[in-house]
């Protein structure tokens, strides 16, 4: 494979710009049984919290028109257990290791980041789309100034490259992107899932125990693309595009909109090896267009 797909992101070299998105691929082990995940540019782990979490009760997935809603509730083994059981395996893979860190209080975020300081990884992806237990469950990623405080404090604590994953539910996604840059983030990734709802009309009640859940998949792609375009225009730091990518054409759109790399999440459920089709399709496209490097088309729109 030639190097036309190679891309730089915040000083980290990706052999291609395709990354598995957090929460859809565990720590990569299951997909590695289906295809060679070392062909990927990177993998973003299941969202980790300082302490283990059991996740949400009740229905966790619901299909919508061209999308899915999920409410897994960050079930994960906690940062310490992740370091013990999973990190060594990830480190042994020739893919960029992105560790997704979540939290429900600023203290938890900081302690999680500090634990990760002592280990080998390439990028910490900071998930700010979590409810803040100290502020009545209000999502950290909605208000720019609340998010800014989390990013500032985690930035100060985190020795690794820091990429902030933005919520599309933010009051102003462009302002949020700028705030991340101002606070020293090395990059941003967007979008996380859209807050959404489904109702069981037979029971006259919400499908999800948490009432609202996160919508993803092809249904949200055009909105995600618009947000990536806006964010990429607003900041100098690199952007990783996420949202309903299920084909190489989708991925190229995100790169033309300004993303340096892309993540594939819900698409993995359509075809566990979909990321390989995206990589091969992009390679074919660049070759056929005689484009020497993917970076030539980055942000061309």
């Amino acid at each position: 494979m030639s190097g036309v797909l190679q891309t730089e992101f915040a000083g980290v070299t990706f052999k291609n710009p395709v990354v598995l998105a957090s929460g859809t691929c565990g720590f990569g082990r299951e997909y590695n049984e289906i295809f060679d995940i070392e062909r990927l540019g990177g993998i973003s782990t299941k969202g980790l919290t300082l302490n283990p979490r059991q996740g949400n009760e009740g229905v966790r997935i619901w299909e919508t028109d061209c999308g899915v809603m999920n409410s897994v509730g960050l079930e994960n083994p906690g940062v310490r257990k992740f370091i013990e059981d999973e990190l060594g395996w990830l480190n042994g893979l020739d893919v960029v290791n992105i560790v997704n860190l979540s939290g429900h209080s600023i203290e938890d975020y900081i302690e999680g980041a500090e634990l990760l300081n002592g280990v080998k990884l390439d990028i910490v992806e900071l998930n700010i789309s979590c409810p803040n237990v100290r502020a009545g469950g209000m999502n950290f990623g909605v208000k720019t100034e609340v998010a800014r405080e989390v990013v500032r404090k985690v930035r100060a604590a985190c020795k690794h490259k820091l990429m902030v994953k933005l919520s599309p539910n933010a009051e102003d996604v462009t302002a949020l992107a700028r705030a991340c840059e101002e606070e020293g983030a090395d990059g941003i990734s967007l979008v996380n899932t859209f807050l959404a709802m489904a109702i069981d009309i037979k029971k006259r009640s919400p499908v999800f125990e948490n009432v609202y859940a996160g919508l993803s998949g092809p249904a949200i792609k055009p909105i995600a693309l618009r947000m990536v375009h806006q964010a990429a225009k607003a900041v100098q730091i690199p952007v990783m595009g996420i949202g309903g990518i299920v084909s190489w054409q989708d991925a190229v759109e995100f790169i033309m909109a300004g993303a340096a790399a892309v993540q594939i999440g819900t698409g993995n459920f359509i075809d566990p090896a979909i990321s390989l089709s995206v990589i091969d399709g992009m390679q074919g496209y660049l070759d056929s267009q005689k484009i020497g490097s993917i970076e030539e088309i980055k942000g061309c729109v």
Binding site: E30, K46, V59, R60, E75, P218, T266, F269, P272
Partner: protein, 233 residues
């Protein structure tokens, strides 16, 4: 993409679909399932269907039309293509002795292969099938069972005396399996659970099931669980 060999209606809302197995696919163990789809990216999710039977290079699925995905399946015809990922999940254990297989509704599907595989060793396998409106495929089940008991419109759990068996294995609606678990009091019951799934391989955690041993994934840790593990809590 696999080729569909036949897809016949066998009862009200029930279909039996036979397809060529994907290349380089191992033999399915009883209780295992495939993730299937016969469309592009929408609907997003593939549908988990347990293996009804496997013969040589063909695999078949007995399914009930319950929503969009299975509705599309029901329109497929011989010569159409279908994408299959599998076989996935664990399986019913290879027990010996006297075994009862108890199924209700679409849950009867994995019991055909289970009976076939269990009877390869020294066992007697009695099959109990519960149907809500009409029975079907009973001649086929008879061929793989030492005896077949059928109930239409009532409770199949009323028909079984668990004390006659060393092992009971079940698949069906949760209330049915729970009633059976209680009737089996302490017996070695195995239950195959159904769940909405996304990845099908244990990565996404959406098919979570609470067990005595904590959270389990129906797709990877299951679909077959010890009764006490899931109903005894």
């Amino acid at each position: 993409m696999s080729l569909i060999l036949s897809n016949e209606r066998v009862g009200k809302d029930f279909y039996l679909m036979k397809a060529v197995k994907p290349e380089r696919t191992g033999a399915a163990r009883m209780g295992q399932f495939y993730m299937l789809r016969a469309w592009g990216s929408c609907p997003v999710l593939s549908r988990p269907l347990s293996v009804f039977d496997e013969r040589g290079e063909t695999v078949s699925f007995l399914y009930k039309v319950v929503g969009r995905g299975t509705e599309i399946f029901s329109t497929l015809q011989k010569g159409d293509g279908i994408t299959m990922l599998g076989p996935l999940g664990n399986s019913f254990p290879k027990e010996r002795g006297s075994i009862a297989l108890v199924g209700g509704g679409a849950g009867i599907a994995p019991l055909y292969l289970a009976a076939k595989q269990l009877r390869q060793s020294k066992t007697t396998v009695d099959i109990y099938l519960g149907f809500s409106e009409e029975s079907f495929l009973t001649e086929e089940y008879k061929l793989v069972a030492d005896s077949l008991v059928v109930n239409v419109g009532g409770f199949i759990t009323d028909e079984i005396d668990p004390s006659r068996y060393e092992h009971v294995m079940t698949c069906g609606p949760e209330p049915m399996m729970r009633a059976l678990y209680e009737k089996c009091a302490g017996k070695n019951l195995r239950a195959s659970l159904e769940s909405r799934m996304a990845c099908g391989v244990g990565a996404c955690l959406v098919c979570n099931c609470k067990t005595a041993g904590g959270n389990k994934k129906v797709c990877k840790d299951g679909p077959v669980f010890k009764g006490a593990e899931v109903f005894g809590i």
